[in-house]
């Protein structure tokens, strides 16, 4: 996981619409960039034993999967594909021999992938031979060329990474000058913040990093990564793993003051650790040219046609037959109770937090030392104490200006590490939203007979047979996965999308096999022989010939309308009847909501009364 995140680390420029950072000083942190520098020497094309694909072929598969993953997870990132040790040369100023820039540093699109497809397999090797060929090697030149690619980019780059794919641990056949040049160029690149990574591929007799590459690649960032240098396969596997999920950069949703009272304030950042991922929104295109189309919305006066500016319009709602008008500002003002922030109310034992009091996914807070110094210390003290005493803090929470308050429970979470010493749970408080009285509905409980011990025990056996270890990232969203695959298929001219595995479907056969006779035994215990649980309950008796009656259109007289309005009984009519009535009285109805129709008719009737 750790490495995968590294390689796919993404700096997403797009902030989710509802995730504005009100901190104000946030700056776009730039984009990630990744250059694949691939050895195209003869050795790379040698097929493995037992018909295993050549190193070149494997590399291309790997590059392709990174490209396709990038497109979905972080489409603003830049990638480039450069070959070295080629016969042909192709680079921006054609100043380097034996370096072939296949893709310049750019955000990848469908064409890039189609281009890479040409290099795959047996045909791919032939195509590569034809277009690039294999020739002399100068890693120094190749690195120099790559550094030019970086410097030609005018965008701000946040993360620069260069990956060398080769199966040769020794490049220049003992040419000391070339080795030196490569080292110098590598040092120059590292100087400008480029991280150089080696993806050494299988080589008969083993790949000796210490021969040459130890001086080229960037030193590992910390001790724990050291081991990975020697183990190329895992990196490759990770690279080949397809990820079809949009990645988001860690960024606080907002920064708030957390007030304990009496002017004791600390600063916290609010983070979203889980949010329902949705399909990216569609773009409108012109049918003929596929050009993107923008929409403009204008308001104008229905009678004189003049354009209405925001000041020319007010907001209105109809309640109890009366239209109430307010300014736009007033509508916002109504929602304002206090300034944004968290205000501590007090503490409660954890058992007072009800599992079923859930109305929204939780948020997460972590101290912001840069806003108020000392926040982290205070925060840690609260965290330790709350977790020690098994308490949660109850707070009033106002996320933004002109937003009404909600009460939240701050549930402490101490840092936990997994076996590999990476963070499994981060330290901080979960922010759990609590329901108000209005959010809790009165449900009439169904009271029925309860099960006997024998029946319960049988069910326990069933439960036992079907137990598994739940992990929150175990299920992919089939709707999203299907969408991404459809897009891929269309973009890459595939005949049909790759099939998805719908993990949300029960594996019925496997379950049945595991249960064996248990299911039947349980049914025998709880259901009488003639009982069919799948059967629908008796359908409600239909009123004879109802359908025909409904169809018959009944015109509403003005008198009837008047009566309905006066008695507030319009609500009892069905939507089609109301629509007909609107049509009949010549009311333009834009809405289809019942209340809108009722409002329209009510206003009409009231106007008639005035006239």
């Amino acid at each position: 996981m750790a490495e995968r995140r590294e390689y796919y680390q993404n700096e997403d420029d797009e902030v989710e619409e509802d995730e504005e950072d009100s901190g104000g000083d946030y700056k776009i942190s730039g984009r990630d960039s990744l250059v694949f520098l691939v050895d195209a020497s003869k050795e790379m094309f040698i097929k493995g034993e037992d018909g295993e694909p050549s190193n070149f072929d494997m590399t291309m598969q790997c590059v392709r999967s990174v490209y396709t993953s990038k497109i979905i997870s972080s489409d603003k990132d830049l990638v480039a594909l450069v070959f070295y040790g080629t016969e042909q040369s192709k680079n921006p100023r054609n100043s380097f021999k034996h370096v072939y820039v296949y893709h310049d540093l750019d955000s990848p699109g469908s064409q890039c992938i189609l281009d890479i497809d040409k290099l795959l397999g047996e045909k791919g090797a032939q195509f590569a031979e034809k277009t690039m060929g294999s020739g002399e090697t100068s890693l120094g030149d190749a690195l120099w060329c790559c550094s030019n690619l970086y410097s030609d980019i005018k965008l701000r780059l946040s993360h620069k990474r260069l990956m060398i794919f080769t199966c040769r641990d020794e490049h220049h056949g003992g040419d000391g000058a070339k080795d030196r040049q490569a080292r110098t160029k590598a040092a120059d690149l590292k100087e400008t913040g480029v991280v150089i990574d080696l993806m050494h591929l299988t080589k008969p007799g083993g790949f000796d990093v210490s021969l040459f590459f130890c001086d080229i690649v960037s030193p590992p960032e910390d001790e724990s990564e050291l081991g990975l240098q020697i183990e190329p396969c895992r990196k490759l596997e990770d690279l080949q793993k397809r990820v079809r999920a949009k990645e988001l950069k860690k960024r606080s949703q907002s920064r708030l003051t957390f007030s304990l009272g009496e002017g004791v304030n600390l600063a916290v950042g609010v983070y979203v650790l889980a949010r329902t991922a949705t399909k990216p929104s569609a773009v409108k295109l012109h049918r003929d040219t596929n050009e993107p189309v923008r929409t403009k919305t204008r308001y104008f006066h229905a009678h004189n046609g003049g354009i209405l500016l925001p000041n020319d319009m007010k907001r209105a709602q109809v309640y109890g037959k009366k239209q109430i008008v307010m300014e736009k500002d007033e509508v916002d003002e109504i929602k304002k109770f206090d300034d944004p922030g968290l205000v501590l109310m007090g503490f409660k034992p954890m058992d007072r937090l009800k599992l079923h009091h859930h109305i929204r996914p939780a948020l997460f807070i972590y101290p912001e030392e840069e806003q108020i110094s000392g926040s982290s210390c205070m925060f840690t003290a609260l965290l330790l104490n709350c977790s020690e005493k098994n308490l949660f803090a109850l707070c009033r929470y106002i996320p933004r200006r002109n937003t009404p308050p909600r009460f939240v429970a701050l549930v402490p979470q101490r840092e936990e590490l997994d076996q590999s010493q990476t963070q499994a749970t981060p330290p901080g408080f979960h922010v759990i939203f609590l329901p108000f009285a209005d959010d809790i509905r009165t449900v009439d409980a169904h009271v029925g007979p309860t099960a006997s011990d024998e029946q319960v025990d049988k069910m326990k056996e069933i439960v036992h047979k079907l137990r598994f270890k739940y992990k929150s990232d175990a299920f992919e969203n089939p709707v999203l996965q299907q969408h991404y695959r459809n897009l891929e298929a269309l973009a890459l001219n595939m005949l049909e999308p790759e099939p998805i595995e719908d993990l949300t479907m029960p594996k019925v056969q496997m379950m049945d096999a595991r249960l064996g006779p248990l299911a039947q035994e349980f049914k025998d215990l709880v259901y009488p022989p003639d009982y069919n649980p799948e059967g629908k309950p008796a359908a409600k008796p239909e009123s004879g010939g109802g359908a025909a009656e409904k169809k018959a259109k009944v015109e509403m007289s003005e008198e009837e309308l008047k009566n309905h309005v006066a008695k507030c009984t319009l609500g009892k009519l069905t939507v089609p009847v109301l629509k007909d009535a609107c049509k009949q009285f010549g009311i333009r109805t834009t809405g289809t909501k019942k209340q809108e129709l009722i409002d329209a008719l009510t206003i009409l009737q009231n106007l008639c009364l005035i006239n």
């Binding site: 469908s110 009496e262 739940y470």
Partner: protein, 712 residues
């Protein structure tokens, strides 16, 4: 389709209701407030329940049963209909104390008669009578059994609202088992009158015979009712039933019904846009046009557009039809068990979605009840939960969620909560806190926080050693609704008044309980001294071009130069008038009667006023003003001022972006129509630094361009 309920509010307005001890609000006023709040809520929540209003103790008599001196002083004020503004206004102005007394049992009979008559031939989900009285009147109990009988037969439920709590014990300590401070208005010293004691016995008698042991729960005090309107819950709409089958494997099926038990209640109605003068919705037409992103902004018909999705740097055309054809298809509603897992594993996972569903066995199916009960009990004793695939219907996306067992004294059910998909999770890592030397709190700091926590516990032990929650969030009505209803009500009754301030009780609901506040004073002071907390003053950051060119809002906030729009002094002779501001301005400059700066300020003020009106002649006038600024070499100052105006607007009303855009448009018009672009030379010689001036100019240039693109 849930049929609405019918409810009769029956309020005692007799003279005893107006009596009160000194310093106490009369029962009449309290009862009136309860009714007002209730009707307000019904009107604004657009509850479909029909409401009638019967008053007793009135001077006059108006009811269907009045005959031969029977049922006198009882007035049917309003028959059953949906509550509306008229009713609210009537309660406000016409609901007055009466000078008579009437038997509340008689009034109850009138209400029953009214309900019977009005609901004849119609089917109502619920029939309810709400009696608000102080019981301070002689009643004849001889008909009691008949009344109880017919209430039962007609399935009419009753609620009583009294000035005092129903049991004596409660009366002593403030009464009610409700949360929060429920200070019942007990008549100090005196206790109850003979009639009241007798009446109370009858109330108990009726309620217990109607609803057996729970009957007395439907007797409230006025103050309780005002405190928590959730009492009116029983007339709220019932959640929709969702019948489905719970399946385990291919052969084990249990018939179930789900109900949304907890979900975030949103404001139901949205705001319509009306024309500012006529207040007519039809006067505003909204038009959306599609245009290409070229220089001419060529318009395109809606039918000539298709949808596409970004795929990397490309946009892949993907029509709606194709999308529907290719998209994931769910095979209808389901509640299928995927497997069982330890509850603790699920509890660590974030919960998704916005609801909790309670799952029961199908109604009146005892076999299903037994089967589900077996599952619930098995899960409960094993501390496990079911992981299920949940799909509401054929059109909705499937979810994966957890069903937890829930065993209550009276019922059992499963609680379903949605769990995240892999795509929903964001694996963020945060720096170490507790093992970081820099942030590690000292022992004394830890104990200070410890003491603070102890002083701020919201769960306290009462005399019997039982813990009492003094701040139950789920008993607080959402203040958003209360505030909205208050403002709507106020504006509806007083269309020209500004909005009222937030009601004090509503504010109090959102504050820390007073006892806790008092208790934590000392520990809080201790924490304050032990933890140095300092607001970090940011160095003025270098402004990047992105900030300047970013977008309009940025451009404006950047140039937030304080602007004082001085109060217009009518008595002064030396000012820029509105008739011919340019001439006045020039005169002022020439005569130097006021400082140059002041003259500029005044002219700016005028421009602002002119821009406030929207008609071409005012535009021309403001253009002339800006021209004058320019001629006087004060152009830049003017720009700064007008941008100041905008930014101050933004500051004061953060939501005023729209308005801001208007000003942008106007600026754009001004620039294009009358003035050539400002040259750099004009910047020189101003009182502002060249760098600042350049920044403003670039900001304005970009603004001009964007506003043109957007609006013209």
């Amino acid at each position: 389709d849930v049929r609405p309920g019918a409810l009769v509010l029956c309020m005692d307005v007799g003279f005893s209701m107006s009596n009160s001890e000194p310093g106490q609000e009369p029962s009449f006023e309290q009862a009136k407030k309860v009714i007002q709040k209730f009707v307000q809520r019904q009107v604004f929540a657009e509850n479909k329940d029909e409401v009638g209003l019967v008053l007793f103790g009135t001077d006059g008599t108006k009811n269907g049963l009045a005959e031969d001196g029977q049922y006198e002083n009882i007035t049917v004020h309003r028959r059953l209909m949906m509550p509306d503004f008229e009713l609210l206004e009537e309660i406000e102005s016409k609901l007055q104390p009466g000078g008579q007394q009437a038997d509340w049992l008689d009034a109850l009979v009138v209400c029953m008669d009214l309900l019977q008559e009005e609901t004849m031939g119609k089917k109502f989900e619920r029939l309810n009578i709400v009696l608000l009285t102080d019981l301070n009147v002689q009643t004849s109990a001889d008909q009691l059994d008949v009344i109880i009988d017919s209430l039962k037969k007609a399935r009419i439920t009753l609620q009583f609202f009294l000035p005092f709590p129903v049991d004596g014990e409660d009366r002593a300590d403030g009464g009610g088992d409700g949360p929060g401070p429920s200070a019942a208005p007990v008549r100090p010293g005196k206790g109850l009158s003979r009639q009241q004691t007798q009446g109370l016995e009858m109330v108990k008698n009726i309620m217990t015979s109607l609803e057996e042991e729970d009957g007395l729960e439907e007797v409230y005090t006025f103050s309780d009712a005002l405190q928590k309107l959730s009492i009116f819950k029983r007339i709220d709409r019932r959640p929709m039933a969702w019948p489905c089958h719970l399946t385990i494997g291919s052969s084990l099926t249990i018939r179930i019904v789900g109900y949304k038990a907890v979900t975030e209640e949103k404001v139901k109605k949205s705001w319509a846009i009306v024309e500012a003068q006529s207040h007519q919705r039809d006067d505003v037409k909204r038009e959306t046009v599609y245009c290409l992103d070229d220089d001419n902004e060529t318009e395109v018909q809606k039918d000539d557009t298709i949808q596409g999705f970004r795929y990397g740097s490309d946009i892949v055309p993907f029509s709606k039809v194709d999308e529907d054809q290719m998209k994931y298809k769910s095979d209808g509603k389901c509640f299928s068990v995927l497997g069982f897992t330890k509850q603790e594993l699920v509890r660590c996972s974030p919960f998704m979605g916005s609801q909790v569903v309670k799952v029961f066995a199908a109604r009146d199916d005892e076999h299903a009840a037994v089967a589900l009960s077996a599952l619930i009990r098995a899960l409960d004793s094993l501390k496990m939960a079911a992981i299920v695939r949940y799909a509401y219907d054929r059109r909705s996306n499937p979810q994966v969620g957890a069903a937890f067992p829930c065993i209550k004294e009276k019922y059992e059910c499963l609680l379903y909560v949605q769990l995240p998909f892999m795509e929903d999770l964001r694996q963020f890592t945060f720096p170490v806190l507790e093992n970081n030397k820099k942030f590690k709190p000292s022992e004394s700091q830890l104990s200070a926080v410890d003491a603070l926590i102890d002083s701020m516990m919201l769960v306290e032990k009462d005399e019997d050693g039982e813990s009492v929650d003094v701040f139950k969030v789920n008993h607080i009505p959402n203040p958003q609704f209360q505030r909205l209803f208050q403002c709507l009500h106020h504006r509806g009754v007083n269309p020209d008044d500004p909005l009222p301030p937030v009601e004090p009780w509503l504010k109090r609901d959102l504050e820390r309980p007073q006892a806790v506040s008092a208790r934590c004073q000392t520990p809080l002071q201790d924490v304050k001294t032990k933890f140095p907390l300092k607001v970090v003053v940011k160095k003025k950051e270098q402004k990047t071009s992105a900030d300047v060119f970013g977008n309009q809002e940025h451009a404006f906030t950047l140039t937030s130069i304080p602007c004082e729009v001085s109060h217009f002094n009518r008595r002064s002779l030396f000012q820029v008038g509105s008739v011919n501001p340019v001439r006045d301005f020039c005169t002022l400059i020439r005569q130097k009667t006021v400082s140059f700066d002041q003259a500029c300020q005044q002219l700016t003020h005028r421009i602002e006023q002119l821009l406030g009106n929207r008609s071409p002649e005012y535009y021309m006038k403001s253009i002339a003003c800006i021209q004058a600024f320019r001629d006087q070499g004060a152009f830049l100052t003017g720009i700064f001022r007008s941008s100041g105006i905008c930014s101050s607007k933004v500051k004061n009303r953060p939501s005023a972006h729209v308005e801001l855009k208007t000003s942008c448009l106007q600026h754009a018009l001004l620039f294009s129509d009358a003035l050539t672009l400002i040259s750099k030379d004009e910047v020189d010689g101003s009182t502002f630094s060249k760098q600042d001036a350049n920044q403003v100019l670039t900001a304005f240039y970009s603004l001009q361009l964007t506003s043109f693109k957007k609006f013209v």
